[in-house]
Amino acid sequence: MTKENVLKYITKGMRYDGRKMTDYRPVTVTYGVSHAAEGSARVKIGETEVIAGVKLAMETPYPDTPAQGNLMVNAELTPLSSPQFESGPPSVQGVELARVIDRAIRESKAIDLTKLCIKEGEKVWSVAVDIVTVNDAGNLMDAGALAAIAALKNAVYPTLKDDGSVDYNKKTDKKVPLQQTPIEVTVIKIGDQLIVDPLPEEEEALDSRLTIAFNDKDMLCAMQKGGETPLSVEEISAMVDLAMEKSKELRKKL
């Protein structure tokens, strides 16, 4: 029923909350929202709220990358944030969200992982980015990606003691080295309309979905298609154009 209604309005060029097809709701980024984390940020897109935090740890590198630090991106779609999310192991939706955001950060080489190496083959910094949903009012993907990169921008190293252990109570003023700020935009297609920043009702009614990440130079650095309807080259081209334009708006919010 809702799906039919959404489709009916969208084909007339109308949305539930009166927005234009290509408008985001108001976007705000707040830095340093958790003093315990090495970096953190809260992103609100309309009523959608997501918090991301960065924790650093001293670990041994993976055998195939002995001179590189480790990066891990994890997402928790908490039952606090929506009646549809349950406690327990991560859902497929949560895993996808984390992996798409991970890919944008990794493939854009946002973090110079070689700079996280303390001693080759023995000691490297490991960077864990955790994205936690607080209120799901749609578009968790874009909100989560923005929160993750904002939290990284906010991150500083803790003190490394002489014995090689980490003193988390003493943060340094040295920032985690970022060389790119990837921005993700999700465009969804309902009927023949392209829209951004979907509400939960619009997400349920989508035919296809394309999330695209752009680096500072507008280069595409990660993509993920969702939804059950396939896309033509023309459709993909239009979605990328729209996403690129929107990524510039989102980048200004950082």
Partner: protein
């Protein structure tokens, strides 16, 4: 669990507070629009978000109680919210125990007989922590339950008391708990019953001091209780006011 640190000299509190003084507190309700009721409670650098969903259908069915609805609390720290290393998601024994204690602390003020076979879910997430997290969680949960419009006899106000070298103190922080090794006594107080629904002790306390400490806890809990009430008033009187305006 690690035993308390060896007691060190602690002539005055590291943040300059009086022994009986709490850190700054703040409360807000309705922070999570998707939920049926929600609240935020902050005490110093400890922040608890609470969301209430329900009464709603309870599955699996064998968990249902035909005589009453049940309360189900789930306490969780965000992975980056702890001092020190990342907290692995998924929870462990500690969060299981705290979730159970929250249930016991909140049940005395609830009456879920009107909604048999259902569940009221309370979810807690903490974005930052500096000790006293179970207490902040109970305080926030209580506000969120009221925000959800559930029938309640009263609210529950909770804080962590401390005891150190014969001194009684209110609201110990992470440094005092872990580094100084002050005895930690989390309590939850129900004003209208004049009773406690949470009481734990982690450390040593002589009996006379425990009684003194509980009497002080009542006074301090009333300060929290005021903040809880003000937060609810701020939301519902504002709505009421708007409603009247529309009517006119």
């Amino acid at each position: 669990m690690a035993a308390k640190a060896v007691k060190q000299e602690y002539p005055k509190r590291q943040d300059g507070r009086d022994w009986e003084e709490m850190r700054p507190i703040e409360g807000k309700v309705g922070i999570i629009p998707r939920a049926d009721g929600s609240a935020m409670f902050r005490i110093g650098h400890t922040v608890a978000y609470a969301a209430v969903y329900g009464p709603r259908d309870l599955f699996p069915k064998f968990m249902q109680n035909p005589e009453t609805g049940i309360l189900r609390c789930r306490y969780n720290m965000m992975p980056f919210s702890g001092h020190g290393e990342r907290v692995r998601p998924g929870g462990g024994r500690r969060s299981q125990e705290i979730s159970m204690l929250m249930n016991k602390a909140l049940l005395p003020v609830l009456d879920l007989k009107e909604s048999p076979n259902t569940v009221v879910d309370v979810f807690i997430e903490l974005p930052e922590t500096d000790a006293g997290t179970r207490c902040a969680a109970i305080t926030a949960a209580s506000m969120a339950l009221a925000d959800a419009g559930l029938a309640m006899k009263d609210m529950v106000a909770s804080l962590s008391m401390g005891h150190y070298n014969g001194k009684i103190m209110a609201d110990i922080d992470g440094y005092e708990d872990c580094d100084v090794g002050i005895s930690d006594i989390p309590v939850a107080y129900i004003p209208s019953l004049d009773k406690f629904s949470l009481l734990q002790l982690d450390g040593e306390v002589p009996k006379e001091d425990l009684i003194k400490l509980l009497n002080l806890a009542k006074k301090k809990a009333m300060e929290i209780y005021k903040v809880q009430q003000q937060a609810l008033k701020a939301k519902f009187f504002a709505e009421d006011h708007q409603h009247k305006k529309v009517k006119q």
